[in-house]
Amino acid sequence: MRFDTVIVGGGLAGLIAGISLQKAGKSTAIVSTGQNALHFFSGCFESIQEAPQQVLDIFNEAGIRVHYKPGVRLMPMGTFKESALSLDDVSLFPTPQFGKRVLIINFMGYHDFFSSFLAEGLEKQGMECRIRFLTLGELTQPELGPNEMRAVQIARKMDDVWEKVVQEVRVLLKDEDTVILPQVFGLKDASVPTRIRQGIPAQVVFAGTLPPSVPGIRTQMQLKKRYEVLGGTYLMGDRVTGAHVYQDVVQNVVTKQLDRHYLEADHFILASGSFFSKGLVSNPFKIYEPLFELDMDYNQDRNTWYNPTFANHQPYMGFGVKTDANLQPSRKGVPVKNLYVIGSILGETHPELGSGAGLAIRSALKVTELITK
């Protein structure tokens, strides 16, 4: 089967590249082994200091509600982080003092939302906090079963009963100016968080839970849908296992499920993610890119790979595939002519493109431009 471009990896980077290439009239396919880092997405796009119209358009057209407002956002443990672009689920404030009195709502039996850490953190900022637990019939044992309560299971129930939560919160609300709720709303319908805000007569802030991330899953579904509406072919649950490279030009890629039916294209994009997604692999001796065996940018001395203090910046997170200014990689020093590398597999090798979601989006748009030129 032949396409203009075949993309390996369907995370944020692969999807943004796929969508913008389809918009430019190219035919593309994305092959992806299962899901990606969007399932753990906080809702906030890291390292985006400005918001180009092109990026806002992609999100708007996919029905993803984002807002651009440089400032800080509340983290799940009650601390703050500088941010500028986020999903509407996540509030951005000019300063950490976003309220005076705060009502924090949790669900009885739900352990993946850290209400007391949140309260502690906010009290440090001089806010007064009160925590209340809601007991909803929909979230009791026979309804949710023997599984632990997880964000997605709760979110599924909330899709039907979020109005009930609004009513309960209205009853509980005393003189608080702010209400904090866990991020478990609007799995199917991105407008629910906004409607909850309209229903509660106070400022409403949604705070992160342990994974999976409800806004992240929704965003992934919306981007994939948009990509398919634009005519893209998304091969979910398949893995690229190899490629045929002839005279430094990638001819096709081989997948596990399509076996002898190769996917051919003029251009190929590698968006297979970092260690977590197996875009990069490490063993006791080396760190490598398993698909094309591309040249890597990393320190060979294993002792320098990690910092023994877990919470510190870990050097291995900086390692990535070595590419030129056009994000093109090489093998044994020889450039591969029609291959591009985007997203977190780049590590921190291109600081000018940022990190996290910012890197995924910027590198995807840059490569789209190069391919469509």
């Binding site: 089967m1 082994t33 299962g34 899901q35 990606n36 399932h39 753990f40 044992q141 026979p142 309804e143 949710l144 079963g145 023997p146 599984n147 997880r150 997605v152 299971q153 599924r156 994974p211 999976p212 899953i217 849908k225 398919e228 072919t233 091969l235 979910m236 649950g237 398949d238 893995r239 997948t255 596990k256 499920q257 399509l258 076996d259 002898r260 039916h261 977590f276 997604s277 197996k278 063993n283 006791p284 001796f285 080396k286």
Partner: protein, 407 residues
């Protein structure tokens, strides 16, 4: 230097379960977990449970029977854990209660077919009667809402055998694994395939005595019987493959069973034949891609919605059916968001599963009600029963649509 890589190869676990990073992605998509609180979900039933079961088989949990074996967890898992295989193999290995009479009956698609076919009108009439349905519901716990697939009075094998000579004149030949459904319930699909392949200049042969693929035996824990069928099928498939034939199929579930479940769940080696077993839509797409032409009618017009059956999704071959449908002039195609229809073979026929089954299907049914297609296209026969029963929209295999669109 490369010792490290070998080391990782040696530590590969059964069904890859140690690769599980506990990321919870699978739990977000399991269709049963969304509607049935009794089910522990793919993560707990699969890799988490396996750790415990390996330690002590008493950790086996009977609720694993609620798993549909739809394989969607495997499609979404970023770490390629064979979650559904883990669950099914645990059921085969640890559940020691004897399968119920009802489960045996439902599982014996071949046997029921052979038994019913000569008296098809009678069986159809009887299984359709309200009294018989109530009796089945009460005594066998087969849900009364279900309509049994009709049995055809004449089998597909009988039909094709009578045409052996006219098929032999084609210079190119394929063997067709038709499965029980085409043979006993819906020979028309087989006839449609013959029409399309003949139009491509390809003659169709039967295998030398195929048996039911055995998926229903597997899901009802009739391991011995399933393994017997598997060995038999691999041997007749080998014969065909050795003589240079490709084997085409029209059911995604039969295909997944022949290609994946035999080695994975039954330990039956199919490596000699696996690569030669292809869904007919893939076989035909590849022919057209290589330049073959089909004589399409000019006056064909249909609004079609394509539903990717779970096992087609797992095979990763929905793309072939979709691209093939798009090649039909006059066919207006909508591809549905892939969602399980809820029936999963014999699962939905069981009284205890009826509600779960319908609740799961709702995601798909509501899409169909919104689109109002003339026809739903789909490569699975049990989906066909479920969608037709639940929505009233007619369901056709892509091959039958193709046949209808030809001159």
């Amino acid at each position: 230097m490369d010792n490290g890589i070998k080391f990782q190869e040696y530590t590969e676990s059964t069904y890859n379960f140690e690769e599980c990073t506990k990321c919870t992605v699978c739990t977000a998509f399991c269709p049963v977990l969304q509607v049935n609180p009794l089910y522990p979900g793919p993560k707990q039933a699969g890799p988490d449970g396996e750790r415990l079961r390996l330690r002590d088989p008493n950790f086996f949990d009977e609720s694993l029977k609620y798993c549909l074996n739809c394989k969607r967890c495997e499609v979404w898992c970023p770490s390629e854990v064979k979650v559904a295989d883990l669950i099914q193999s645990a059921r085969l290995q640890y559940d020691t209660t004897p399968p119920k009479l009802r489960d045996r009956l439902l599982a014996s698609t071949d046997f029921m077919g052979k038994l019913a076919r000569p008296v098809a009108p009678v069986v159809n009439a009887v299984t359709g009667l309200p009294l018989a349905k109530t009796a089945m519901d009460v005594m066998l716990k087969i849900d009364r809402h279900r309509t049994f697939p009709k049995y055809s009075a004449s089998s597909f094998e009988f039909w094709l055998k009578r045409r052996r000579k006219e098929q032999a004149v084609f210079s190119e030949q394929v063997a067709y694994y038709h499965g029980c459904y085409v043979n006993y319930n819906y020979p028309q699909l087989g006839k449609d395939l013959v029409k399309v392949l003949n139009a491509l200049g390809v003659g169709v042969q039967l295998l030398d005595g195929e048996k039911c693929c055995g998926i229903a035996l597997i899901s009802n824990r009739l391991t011995k019987e399933a393994t017997k069928n598997a060995k038999h099928n691999v041997s007749v498939l080998s014969k065909a493959v050795e003589s240079g034939l490709k084997v085409v199929t029209t059911s995604s579930t039969c295909t997944l069973t022949l290609r994946e479940e035999y080695p994975s769940l039954l330990g039956v080696d199919n490596s000699a034949v696996k690569d030669s077993i292809l869904m007919a839509t893939r076989y035909i797409y590849e022919k057209l891609e290589q330049g073959a032409k089909l004589p399409f009618r000019a006056d064909f017009h249909k609004r079609v919605a394509y539903h990717t059956p779970c096992h087609m999704q797992r095979l990763g071959w929905g793309i072939f059916s979709e691209k093939l449908l798009r090649m039909i002039p006059g066919l207006e195609l909508t591809v549905l968001d892939s969602a399980c229809c809820g029936i999963s073979g014999t699962y939905g026929f069981k009284k205890e599963n009826y509600e779960t089954s319908q609740a799961i299907g709702e995601q798909l049914f509501s899409q169909l009600r919104a689109i109002q297609p003339e026809v739903v296209a789909c490569d699975c026969e049990t989906c066909k029963w479920q969608i037709e029963m639940s929505t009233g929209f007619p369901v056709m295999n892509p091959i039958s649509l193709l046949a209808e669109a030809l001159c």
